[in-house]
Amino acid sequence: MSELSVDHLLGIKYLQAEDIKLIFQTAQQFKEVINRPIKKVPSLRDITVANLFFENSTRTRLSFELAEKRLSADVVNFSAASSSVSKGETLIDTVNNILSMKVDMVVMRHPKPGAAYFLSQHVDSTIINAGDGAHEHPTQALLDSFSIQEKLGEVKGKKIVIVGDILHSRVALSNILCLQKLGAEVEVCGPSTLIPKHIGSLGVRVSHDLQKSLEWCDVANMLRVQHERQDLKYFPSIREYAQRYGIDRALLESLKSKIVVMHPGPINRGVEISTDVADSDQSIILNQVENGVAIRMAVLYLLAAKRKISFQN
């Protein structure tokens, strides 16, 4: 396969395993590109990308912007806080206004699930979902699986536990779908208040005992506790959460095998993961960040390839 089967990246749900493999192969070469003395290729020089962030983001936004610039795209940035959205403009009006300025691709983060899908139905532009509410965050899942593949050789047959706030996490859902499409076994682990009731229907194992989960797995993906999404108390205290669901050096060393530790960032140091674990050689957190740029370059490049230039009016 040499082309993606989709015209937008709305979620992992819409991708086939072959698409994911193509993205990984392409990202592998982009990783070489971003380690050259001059880290730029001209592929997207006639493409304009709008980054629409209706919700705060530092690393995803930086990572997308860097990926776009490394591909020579023209970039316009927009964040909800400093825009007319706060004056009451609807999503579709905001976006149509931006598209009148001849934007080819839109990278959007939005607090509402399905916002990226909605947009793809109504505007004539390639849409990349950079997170829609607690629904999906496809590029994060792709870079997580890519990092696992890089570290362990392959994803197929590996056992991955996703620990923490599964309920509010778009990273969890996208990761589950992506890992399963690549043939991995997935378990979710966390306090029962933070595990969705019907998560088992996705074909994942459920655990509430971190020690047992870590003994079982090859990779532990520690999710951030999302204080900002939690409208009520899901656990008694941060301290108790850290004790039951946080990883520290002692816990890691008590395990029979040497597991890989991941975190999508930003880290609450001392809560999900202790400082000595985050900075240890078992952690691939900074590889994830570097791979994030390569994966986003691959996604932008492969989707741009589907927008053929027309010289007829």
Binding site: S2, L22, T26, Q29, E32, A305
Partner: protein, 182 residues
Amino acid sequence: MNRKKLLNARSIEITLNRLAQQLIENHGDFKNTVIIGLQSRGIHVMHQLVGILESSGVKDLAHGTLDITFFRDDFRRRDAPLQPSMTKIDVLLEGKKVVFVDDVLFTGRSVRSAMDAIQSFGRPSEIELLVLIDRRFSRELPIQPDYVGRQVDSLDGDRVSVEWQGPEAKENAVYLEIGEHE
């Protein structure tokens, strides 16, 4: 389709040996030279040449591979190949003499892309082009090779294919496949 053998294994070997000698004539001990094979078909020619040069006494010959996919000028225009191959260049090319190696020179567009792509590794002091087969009269850009294995006169619908011994071919050979034209 009419398929004609242009070079057999023995004549390819003789040609490559001659090309290697011409390179030695111009580059001496290769201290300031880097041989770059263009992905994907130029890699075989590059490895064969490097082998011959090393057995002729050239030591520590710097060489690498360059993929031009991201620098193509037909991206988004037709069904251009998207899937890149590996680029491996472990030396800085600033001020170095670079020799591009490819199997067939046809329109010259890959070479243009390669000249663009190579700048990411520094500014070479000069770039030369070595090709096993030069299809004359088919250039779309003002690009000419410095070292030529064999010149071939062919028409637009024809195909020149270079096969290397392996799972896909019994022996090294170059074929001219005559296409349909008016």
